[in-house]
Amino acid sequence: MKTTKDTTTAAAHGGDVRLSGISKTYGSFTAVHPLDLTVPEGSFFALLGASGCGKTTTLRMIAGLEEPSAGTVHLGDQDVTALPPYKRPVNTVFQSYALFPHLDIFENVAFGLRRRGIKSVKKQVDEMLDLVQLGEQARKKPHQLSGGQQQRVAVARALINHPKVLLLDEPLGALDLKLRRQMQLELKRIQTEVGITFVHVTHDQEEAMTMADQVAVMNAGRVEQLGSPADLYENPRTTFVANFLGSSNFIEAEIDSRGGDGLVLKAGGGKLVLPEARNSASTTTGGKVLVGVRPEKISVTHADEAGEIPEGRNRITGRIADSSFIGVSTQYVVDSPVCPEFEVYAQNIARDPRLVPGAEVVLHWNPAHTFGLDATQDIDAGTEEEAAV
């Protein structure tokens, strides 16, 4: 069983999926811009992005259901670019499953084996149905099963062929929230058990982060950033990634000087410190930087007690515009001269009764939690407001 998660040594494996300069255009529309991507063998890889970002097209090019306009697809050492889908050692779990309505569950799962001329399929099919806990349903037709069961049949039908790569196209999109959470864990369990490479397409950032070892965030036909879920979350390199994965606050700042702890930035009247390693913008003095910080990293202190805040923390002042009690946390929206709607999530450990809308507060955080991005980008890229337009 191969469950290698170390991507640095993965290049040594023979089963990687390698996309080189692959692109897809429809007339004048470019669905996928030339793209290089390596999916390490045995990993759970997610392609994450909003609808129309090219993630499904990329997946279909790996499956052979879409012909790339340029570039190559390699599975291990084999160039499969010119192979039709039925000759590729790759199987797909389709969006809305595409189970054959005229065949029962057993025959659906046996389909791939039979097409490859394997005669005695019973043992394998039974085992596979047990793996997805559907042994009892073998003789039912797909429409007699619930959504979650159909989803498991689709996984079993693909996995039974022991593909080099399993492709999943929004496999959980049609399920309700509770079932989706359950199936996320289930799919992760199956992947660890069989050790096959999974490439999972989703628009749900939480789903991608829960399941995947590696996530490629896609936007407008390009990969914005590639990395482990924690890395993407903590070190986003574009505003799109920062906003699409969780939410972020941005302050426009100017580089003032270089101190011992990092870059010292001017924002409004105050100063902020940004570790150089976490800055992906230019570092020339006087240059503009977008300073980002996640809402949960910030502490809120009432202005009367500003003196008690330890030295060395980044701080900005503001007034609470709105607060909502969520249970585990309270979410504040703070109006600040440097940023009109600063979001802060405060855990409900000791609630200060003075922190109500209208209260003057100081927001402060550890400079190590600050990240710097190129200031020429759209601050709202990847937010829900932008997606709604």
């Binding site: 889908p85 039925y86 003789r139 693909a158």
Partner: protein, 266 residues
Amino acid sequence: MAVVNWLKRHFVVIAGLVTLAYLLLPNVVVTVFSFNRPKGRFNYEWQEFSTDAWRDPCGVSGLCGSLSVSLQIALWATLGATLLGTLIAFALVRYRFRARGAINSLIFLPMAMPEVVMAASLLTLFLNMGAQLGFWTILIAHIMFCLSFVVTAVKARVMSMDPRLEQAAQDLYAGPVQTFLRVTLPIAAPGIAAGALLAFALSFDDFIITNFNAGSTVTFPMFVWGSAQRGTPVQINVIGTAMFVIAVLFVLASMAVGNRRKKQKA
């Protein structure tokens, strides 16, 4: 008052039964009169019960010959129209080509055109081509007018088919031929069957176009029409009743199969 209320409550059932009676009454008459022993040459008045005609259905000269011609033409016309119609339907739904829009509307033309006009123009066409009228001209004509119905029936089915099913088959190692035989065809089958049944019924029934283009060949509807001038043998009712019974048995059998499947699933 009570009667009115009762009528109100059972209005749907009563309306249904009345409609059914309206539909079935002619069939009942056909069946009843197949057991008649008429006095003269015409089987229009009830005389006395007899099974003579049932014991000798081919007793009238030419009747069974015409029936056989009709069945042969209907079978071949069904086969031809279903095959061609299915291919056309798939082409129209699945592929984008030059005259697609035009073909899509032209395919309805034979359905819309008055039959007698088409019959006459077909005859003109055959005569100008120097074709000899008979079995083959009837068959060509029947395939032609059955096509539109098959295309319409199959097209509806193919349009509602999820193209991802075929992609899934390809993804699971089925080549183009296997994909068609194992997935596309079975899923389109109900539409194809509906088209075929329609084609058979239309071809077997047809009188006007057949009469124009038959030459000396006599089909069953032509035989009935011809004999109605001189007298109607009871055997015509026997054949009619038999056809009706076979059709009903066919429907009952398919319903029984469907029911059993449902029970198995439950």
